[in-house]
């Protein structure tokens, strides 16, 4: 698993990359009450705003961590956005992206580096 400075995690799942936010991020956001997903098939570039999260506190954007095509989104979050808080690394995932260049993941932190980053 890789981690971005924006507190997203990326997990390679066969030829796709699953993206979510870290436990640290979900704690900082507070209770998530609404998640707006991109449409399946959307082509995204790194740093495009792809997801909007509304928590009890504020709205924030999730950026595409790599270039690629959105091939699946976590539809369950539409009705149960609280999964982002309850299980950010599991059931609270956001979308799966078909990467254009898996090498873009190399720039991101591993777990140890991320833990240092948020410490």
């Amino acid at each position: 698993m890789k981690f971005t400075e924006e507190h997203e995690w990326l997990r390679v799942d066969e030829d796709l990359v699953v993206v979510g936010i870290t436990e640290h991020a979900s704690e900082q956001l507070g209770d998530v009450v609404f998640v707006e997903m991109p449409e399946i098939g959307t082509l995204v570039s790194k740093d495009d705003e792809v997801v909007v999260i509304e928590s009890v506190k504020a709205a924030s954007d999730i950026l595409a961590p790599i270039d690629g095509e959105i091939v699946e989104v976590n539809e369950a979050l539409a009705d149960t956005p609280g999964k982002v808080n309850d299980d950010p690394l599991g059931d609270g995932w956001f979308f799966k992206i078909k990467p254009s260049d898996l090498g873009q993941m190399d720039e991101y932190m591993d777990e140890t580096a991320y833990q240092d980053y948020i410490a």
Partner: protein
């Protein structure tokens, strides 16, 4: 932020794991580890303890006692204070010459004097305003007492166990009761839509009282985050957001706060700043009204969201003044101002969220029913 003020409960908030933020010049807890959603739901289910010590507490004394203070104060607020019963409290607002609202406040008849509670951010202005316009009154700002709020269906049982007599109070009663925490100034009121109390306690005893309340299984500490979602569900205004110097009480749908005796045809009609405009709007209607808004989707429409009559085209007709997710109603909720023809329950208008116009329905306030003990 070295110059932030602190309340007597500051160390307790930190001990409880609160996330502290600057609010109206004070270092205040925005949430505790449970988080806004759980705190909100707990308050509606059991009881929540709030530190509202940042609010201003002021005593008004006059040679002529309460009646003189009330009579002078009636020149600043459109409220029936002379008719307010002893040990009773009323909601009111200071108006300006344009009919706008300078602050909203609570006013109590405490027998030989008046006691008022004002908003933290307006404290200095309100006190200067009272000193300038209440010539016969001594305006004493109380600076050595904290203010706690205990709100929720369990509040009565919890407080009465510590302070016998609390249960006998009715909604908007005030009482001065002895306790092991010294003399408490209690009102049966609050800012959540729930039954509950606001309790003024000496700074020295505030933490002991807070700990005694928190020791009860039913009581959890509640931060400013849930305070905001609770008051919004209850349809209550936040000064500086839903009401301010540019909104009249009529526009703000607060005419229930203007008693008959101060209205047109009443024995003490008008006589407060901006009376001409306010009474005219009461007779002929204001151009706009504060309304409840229920977005049809799940996305909250927050403060500043522009409102449109149609899904496309046209200029904004109003805007959201408060908006959040309502944990009890399990849906987003907002308040805002709309032109009067659109300000009727069930009307669908559009709020622009991230460049898209989303349908939102004008809804009845409060969003959750009030549970006051009348």
């Amino acid at each position: 932020m070295a110059d932030l003020l602190t309340t007597p409960l500051n160390a307790l908030h930190r001990e409880l794991g609160a996330k502290m933020v600057p609010f109206a010049g004070y270092d205040m807890p925005v949430q505790y580890p449970a988080g806004v959603m759980k705190e909100h739901l707990h308050c509606r289910a059991k009881a929540g303890l709030f530190d509202v010590s940042h609010m201003g507490q002021v005593i008004l004394r006059a040679p002529g006692g309460y009646a003189q203070a009330a009579s002078e104060m009636e020149a600043l607020v459109p409220v029936d204070l002379l008719g307010l019963g002893e040990m009773r409290q009323r909601y009111g607002f200071f108006t300006n010459d344009q009919g706008g609202i300078l602050d909203d406040l609570m006013l109590a008849n405490r027998g030989d004097h008046m006691f008022v509670v004002i908003n933290a951010a307006c404290k200095a202005g309100d006190i200067a305003h009272m000193r300038a316009h209440l010539p016969g009154c001594e305006v004493e700002e109380i600076t050595d007492r904290a203010l706690l709020a205990l709100q929720g269906p369990a509040a009565e049982a919890v407080l009465d166990a510590l302070v016998p007599g609390a249960a006998e109070m009715r909604f908007m009663d005030v009482a001065i009761l002895p306790s092991e925490f010294g003399e408490l100034w209690i009102s049966r009121s609050g800012y959540t839509g729930e039954d509950g109390y606001e309790i003024s306690v000496s700074d020295a005893q505030a933490e002991a009282l807070a700990r005694a309340l928190l020791a009860h299984d039913d009581v959890e500490p509640i931060g400013l985050g849930a305070r905001d979602s609770l008051r919004l569900e209850a349809g209550l205004c936040l000064y500086g957001h839903d009401i301010d110097e540019t909104t009249t009480p009529v526009e703000a749908s607060l005419i229930w706060g203007i008693q008959k005796v101060r209205r047109a045809g009443g024995a003490r009609e008008g006589g407060f700043p901006g009376a001409e405009r306010i009474l005219d709007e009461m007779a002929n209607g204001a151009a706009r009204a504060r309304v409840g808004l229920r977005p049809e989707g799940r996305a909250p429409m927050r403060e500043g969201t522009q409102l449109f009559e149609n899904a496309e085209g046209g200029a904004a007709v109003g805007q959201v003044t408060s908006g959040a997710y309502g944990p009890t109603i399990e849906a987003p909720m907002s308040m805002g101002y709309l032109p009067r023809p659109l300000a009727t329950e069930g009307t669908v208008i559009y709020g622009e969220v991230r460049g898209k116009r989303m349908p939102v329905k004008v809804a009845k306030l409060p969003f959750t029913p009030a549970n006051f003990k009348r």
